[in-house]
């Protein structure tokens, strides 16, 4: 089995990151935007794991960060979905463009 280089992994995470950014900027549905954010977070996770493995295999800092990020992402998703549900109850819509008055 061929050895996977760090460059290939970084390509993957970069691609994942920009797919996430694209999704965040173009989707109007809040749930989809939340999913896009998850993609971005996961691309960061991949980076952490990859750098940890290839550059400092004797340390575990990168893995700890990843676990933190997963935990926080879960909490964030819970909060975000709660917010979205409340917005839906008030506006009958979860389209970001219907919620511009939130700026006030």
């Amino acid at each position: 089995m061929n050895h996977i280089t760090i460059t290939q992994i970084l390509f993957l995470s970069t691609a994942l990151f920009f797919i996430g950014v694209y999704g965040l900027l173009t989707r109007r549905n809040m749930i989809t935007m939340l999913m896009a954010i998850e993609l971005i977070l996961n691309s960061v996770n991949i980076n952490f794991v990859a750098f940890n493995k290839y550059l400092y295999p004797e340390n575990l800092d990168g893995l700890f960060f990843t676990i933190f990020i997963i935990a926080i992402a879960a909490a964030e998703a819970a909060v975000a979905i709660a917010i979205i549900i409340n917005i839906y109850r008030n506006h009958r819509s979860i389209d970001v463009e219907d919620n511009e008055e939130m700026k006030y």
């Binding site: 950014v21 965040l24 900027l25 935007m33 970001v96 700026k103």
Partner: protein, 639 residues
């Protein structure tokens, strides 16, 4: 020598009364607040009399002079090693005399007000203001230095403002209080400049140090500073005199005094007759050694302003129909007497100085009596106008008798108080300034005339006056002060004043020449006789005479148009030439600059405003673009 520390209580008591009545007066019933006021002033008056007895009789003359004492003194603000502002109490013959006058008249007015102000809604406020005034006036007379006197001077102005504007729902009273405050404040500006020049020249604000420094011959020989051709010291003294003239209503700063009669009548008796308006005389007397020894120029100004004001006011007083205004102009005229008496006096003999202080003393009694009498009349008639009065002598017997005594006193008829003091003044003027003497002689005739015009118009004239809702002459609290002051106006003249008060603080012989008195008394009697012919019964003689006097009568009736001149100068000249350009600069340049800064910020922020659109994705885009931009920059720099 005994201690004088208890004197600190004399001003502190009214101040405590002011705080007490000012803070809690609204909750106290009228009787109690009146009692507190009278009690506090009463104790202060007793203490003042004790002080006077101790100072003049018990301690008396030491080494040939009455000593100048400073029982309490502490440094308040230290500027340089020599120049500092002190606070404290200074005792010398004139301050002890003023102490007695102020507390005594204040006590009389407090008593009188119990009846006069009965039923007023703001009774306690009135008393607290009276107490504040008494406190300030006592602080003023006890001041040992120019700055302290200036502070209390302003406090006196404020309390006068409060009391004139007591009926604050009456527009004329509000206008009068503002006028009094602004005019005296305007004069005080000059006073302050004078104080500063004086302080720099003598390197002290203390009266004692100033007097010793400025009258020493070493200083006299070396002092050469001049400004516009006059010695700087003359300027300083003139400026200080302007301050005094503002408070003492000397021409041309007198315009506030007649209007100040809008205040309650007892207030006029206290402030605008007996105490505050003589503050200017007191100030000149305080600095009299400097005035007389250093430079006679300023003293000449004092003399001529005084005599002019005396004559000017006396002429106007003959034409006024509001009884309080007659009294106001009469006050101005009498203060003119005191002023020119100082002006004609010299340092060693000081007959003018002594009789000026004497006149201040006697005038305080008979003029406050006249005002309180007028208050009693107004209380009965509910009007200030002569035409509503007449034939009141059977309704107001006590007021009638005491008013007559006061009129005789002011007209200079022996043996009433005013005769002796006025005699001294005329004598002093005759010795040095004959021109002033003759004018003063004529003025005393006019004085007798207008006082008896007032007297007859109130108490005689119409015989069948019918007073509707007449409710007696007023309570006992109103009659007692009248009687006490009446007695004093009759006998105060017999005090050998020269024994106690002279510019050098050494006792002197009172000299009194019976022959000299003939002319003034004759003139006074003539004035009274003319007034009797014109006004004792309602006849047309006075009106006919006024008609024949024509222009003179009209212009005197309109107070020689001084108010109009002031209005013209302020409205037409000052407002147009200074006020409007200043307003333009303020509106266009000062405000313009501020507005320009504000407008720029507004425009800038308006252009920024659209960035906050509420579109979350736009924010994210800006954010990501920013991050990408920054990282590109970082990479570029790193490479």
């Amino acid at each position: 020598m005994n201690s004088y520390n208890y004197i600190a209580l004399i001003p502190i008591l009214p101040f405590a009364g002011f705080l007490l009545l000012g803070l809690f007066g609204k909750r106290l019933p009228e009787k109690i607040s009146g009692l507190i006021g009278v009690l506090f002033i009463g104790i202060a008056a007793v203490l003042s009399l004790t002080t006077a007895y101790q100072y003049f009789i018990t301690d008396g003359v030491i080494n040939g002079t009455y000593p100048t004492l400073e029982p309490i003194k502490f440094t308040w603000l230290q500027f340089t090693s020599t120049l500092s502002i002190d606070m404290g109490i200074m005792l010398d013959p004139i301050s002890v005399m003023m102490l007695v006058v102020v507390t005594f008249i204040s006590l009389m007015v407090h008593l009188f007000s119990l009846g006069y102000m009965h039923g007023e809604k703001r009774f306690a406020t009135y008393y607290s203001h009276l107490q504040l005034f008494t406190f300030s006036m006592l602080g003023l007379v006890l001041s040992g230095n120019l700055f302290q006197i200036y502070m209390f001077w302003e406090l006196v102005g404020v309390s006068s403002f409060l009391l004139i504007g007591y009926y604050y729902d009456k527009p004329s009273a509000v206008a009068a209080s503002k006028k009094a405050f602004i005019v005296t404040r305007f004069a005080d500006l000059f006073f302050l400049i004078g104080i500063l020049i004086m302080g720099v020249t003598a390197d002290s604000f203390d009266f004692n140090t100033i007097i010793t420094t400025l009258t020493s011959s070493a200083f006299q020989e070396n002092y050469t500073a001049t400004f516009l051709g006059f010695s700087v010291l003359t300027w300083a003294l003139t400026l200080i005199f302007i301050g005094g003239a503002g408070k003492s209503a000397m021409f041309p700063l007198h315009i506030w005094l007649p209007d100040a009669m809008e205040g309650p009548t007892p207030v006029s008796a206290l402030i605008h007759a007996a105490t505050m308006v003589v503050a200017g005389v007191f100030l000149v007397a305080r600095l009299f050694p400097v005035f007389s020894v250093t430079d006679s120029g300023a003293l000449e100004i004092v003399a001529y302003v005084g005599i002019f004001s005396a004559l000017f006011a006396a002429v106007i007083a003959c034409t006024q129909t509001d009884i309080k205004r007659v009294l106001a102009y009469s006050t101005m005229s009498q203060i003119g007497y005191m002023m020119f008496a100082l002006g004609v006096s010299d340092y060693e003999h000081g007959a003018g100085y002594t009789s000026s202080m004497f006149h201040l003393f006697t005038h305080a009694f008979f003029k406050s009596l006249l005002f309180l009498g007028a208050g009693s009349v107004i209380h009965a008639v509910h009007s200030n106008e002569m035409k509503d009065m007449g034939g009141l002598k059977k309704y107001l017997p006590i007021t009638h008798i005491t008013f007559l005594i006061a009129c005789l006193a002011i007209a200079g008829i022996p043996p009433f108080a005013g005769f002796f003091s006025k005699e001294g003044i005329l004598h002093a003027a005759y010795a040095t300034h004959p021109a002033i003497y003759y004018v003063a002689l004529i003025t005393s005739g006019i004085t007798a005339f207008y006082m008896f015009r007032l007297y007859y118009s109130i108490f005689w004239n119409k015989s069948e006056t019918h007073l509707h809702d007449f409710h007696g002459e007023g309570p006992l609290t109103m009659k007692i002060p009248l009687l006490i002051l009446g007695a004093l106006s009759a006998v105060a003249g017999f005090i050998p004043f020269a024994q106690y008060i002279s510019p050098t603080n050494t006792p002197q012989e009172s000299h009194f020449e019976i022959l000299f008195s003939i002319a003034p008394v004759l003139i006074g009697v003539t004035g009274i006789i003319i007034a009797t012919i014109f006004y004792k019964t309602a006849n047309g003689k006075a009106a006919a005479f006024a008609k024949s006097a024509g222009g003179l009568y009209r212009s005197a009736y309109h107070k020689f148009y001084i108010d109009e001149v002031y209005t013209f100068v302020t409205k037409k000249i000052i407002f147009n030439l200074i006020g409007r350009p200043a307003a333009w600069i303020d509106r266009n340049i000062v405000d313009g600059l501020m507005n320009a800064i504000g407008n720029t910020t507004i425009t800038f922020s308006a252009s920024m405003k659209d960035l906050q659109s509420g579109k979350v994705q736009e924010y994210a885009l800006y954010f990501i673009a920013g991050v990408i931009g920054l990282s590109m920059l970082g990479i570029y720099l790193w490479m």
